[in-house]
Subunit: 348 residues, 2 copies
């Protein structure tokens, strides 16, 4: 399966190929395999493990395999994962639901207030309005935007998968830039007051909104959480009590610089495995524990994964294409040789 | 009980007093009693009955009894009831809930859109932003505002009943003006996306908001419904489909002019029954079928009701104070004499 047992295996094939091709008994660089089996559950024990086994995991480069490529004939590598901060904001107004004829228009309505909070999150051009939200964002360079623009992702196809009738989001960016390289604020759920059929003329007592913030390098989840809390306080009207519950401490974003020797070696290895095709950089819109590895080990990170968009990950009949596994194995075999060629001093 | 069996009875006592005091066998004016028993269920058959029995109900003045007074020592009369229009607005975005990491920030989010619609209903000063909403509103005169200001309704007491920690609403108006003489837009319920505990990083497929609009004279429910529909269309983003379901055709507001002979006779009768105290005009924030009576019968309307704020209407142990019933009976007895004194030509 592509997410991720199958992809882990190509490293064994790659190691065998590497040994066979080089005639060595041991690989040209020391390899440490770390298989993280809790990523789909939010990696609850991963950071503690990284801290506890820091010495055994010491390394010069980290190669992550839990990623995909654009298409079988379009080799690519992930160069960023977004971070995440998730919360529920609850507004409490009057202590009971009130008759809207007797009290409506005279007391604060928490459902109106929560709607105004959610509406204030974006301006009309889709930019997030939490003060300071973009302060730490590493902007895309012209060179990165040019590379992004070469990625053959079609908006019509994207809409077809999303079953959406329009694109939306931050103006001035392409779809791929919006979901990979730009931070977002999203309303995941909203509720309050009467939920049944027809009407009920009340001023509700309570309302809530569930928000998630996707973060990009170098945004810090802690900084964003504080900024959102200030924003909520600013949008809490008199007579309304706000409560914010965060899901944990958030996930940090991670970014792979394109100008490092490790990235150069990875790109070269993938390209050679894919018959010399150029390797395009992509970024994942989702979030994983990669930043935790970067922070714990302090080593450069690259991504070598060969999943394909139609592998049906998380779905029935999830698969992995054998042709991709073999190419992944070839790229891994070449990568160890490439890293060895650079040497420790050339890598770090 | 105060809402409304008890209050109906004082008319029988009043009629007996009227006959005894005047020495007549029949009242000084022809009385037709109309007891409407479906008001709490939205009066589903009332308009048809009014149309069907129009001839039998023909009259010069309508006296409505389903109302209250400010306090036992502060006689008052209702001079307006707000109208009502109630709807559910549903927004449909993508055809399925989407992963917010893969699609968030790139497709329209119907929960965000419904929040922006609800937030756009009011400006920061609490004024309803539906274009044309206030066009037909009969503004309070300086004299009416002066009378309103004499009504001893205490904001602290109002907040205590509402169990709210602040007042809110349209700036430039008192609490009593806001709930009696000003139209409102209220969010009665809002919903969409993930509703459970914790977080779920989705872009939801659907969201809704339940809205009610309280109307004052001379707003027309049909005109308001059309204006709200245009407002919703204007606030429906590309890629989102809107659907609006209205609860019926709305309820028209009604207003009693203070300068008519009928109002003068009523005010005089109540004042005399209450030991010469001045009678203050109030307006009900809620809505009833009174406008339907006005429209069907085309006669001036006045309100003689003696319910008190602490009668616990719609609650256990709903009651009516006997002292108030007797004063109501006395006012009724005096009112029939007052109407007769004016004569048909003086009334209409």
């Amino acid at each position: 399966a592509s997410d991720d047992k199958g992809q882990l295996l190509f490293h064994l094939l790659g190691l065998r190929a590497h040994l066979a091709a080089t005639g060595r008994d041991t690989p040209a660089v020391t390899l440490k395999f770390l298989i993280e089996g809790e990523e789909e559950s939010g990696s609850p024990n991963f950071e503690a493990l990284l801290a506890e086994r820091r010495d055994r995991l010491n390394c010069d480069v980290v190669v992550v395999t839990d990623t995909g490529m654009i298409a079988a004939d379009t080799p690519s590598t992930v160069t960023g994962m977004r971070g995440l901060a998730v919360c529920t904001v609850a507004f409490h107004g009057p202590d009971l639901d009130l008759h809207s004829g007797v009290f409506g228009g005279a007391v604060p309505n928490p459902a109106t207030a929560i709607a105004r909070l959610a509406a204030a999150l974006h301006d009309d051009s889709g930019r997030v309005q939490v003060p300071g939200f973009y302060d730490d964002v590493v902007e895309l360079t012209a060179a990165e935007r040019e590379l992004f623009s070469r990625v053959p992702v079609d908006d019509a196809e994207f809409l077809g998968v999303a079953k959406s009738r329009a694109l939306a989001g931050e103006q001035g960016f392409t779809t791929l830039e919006r979901i990979g390289a730009r931070p977002t604020a999203e309303v995941n759920g909203i509720g309050g007051g009467y939920q049944g059929a027809g009407g009920k003329t009340i001023v509700p007592s309570d309302a809530f909104v569930k928000l998630s913030f996707r973060l990009v390098a170098n945004q810090n989840p802690h900084t964003v959480i504080k900024a959102v809390e200030a924003f909520v306080a600013e949008h809490t009207p008199a007579g309304v009590a706000a409560r914010i519950d965060w899901e944990g401490e958030g996930v940090a974003p991670c970014l792979v610089p394109l100008d490092t020797p490790a990235y150069g070696a990875l790109s070269d290895a993938i390209s050679r495995a894919f018959d010399g095709l150029p390797v395009l950089p992509t970024r994942e819109g989702g979030s994983g524990p990669e930043a935790a590895i970067q922070q714990a080990l302090g080593a450069p990170m690259v991504f070598l994964g060969v999943g394909l968009p139609d592998d049906q990950i998380h779905a029935p009949n999830e698969k992995v294409a054998l042709s991709m596994l073999y190419k992944g194995a070839e790229a891994a075999a070449l990568l160890w040789a490439g890293f060895a060629g650079l040497g420790r001093s050339g890598l770090t």
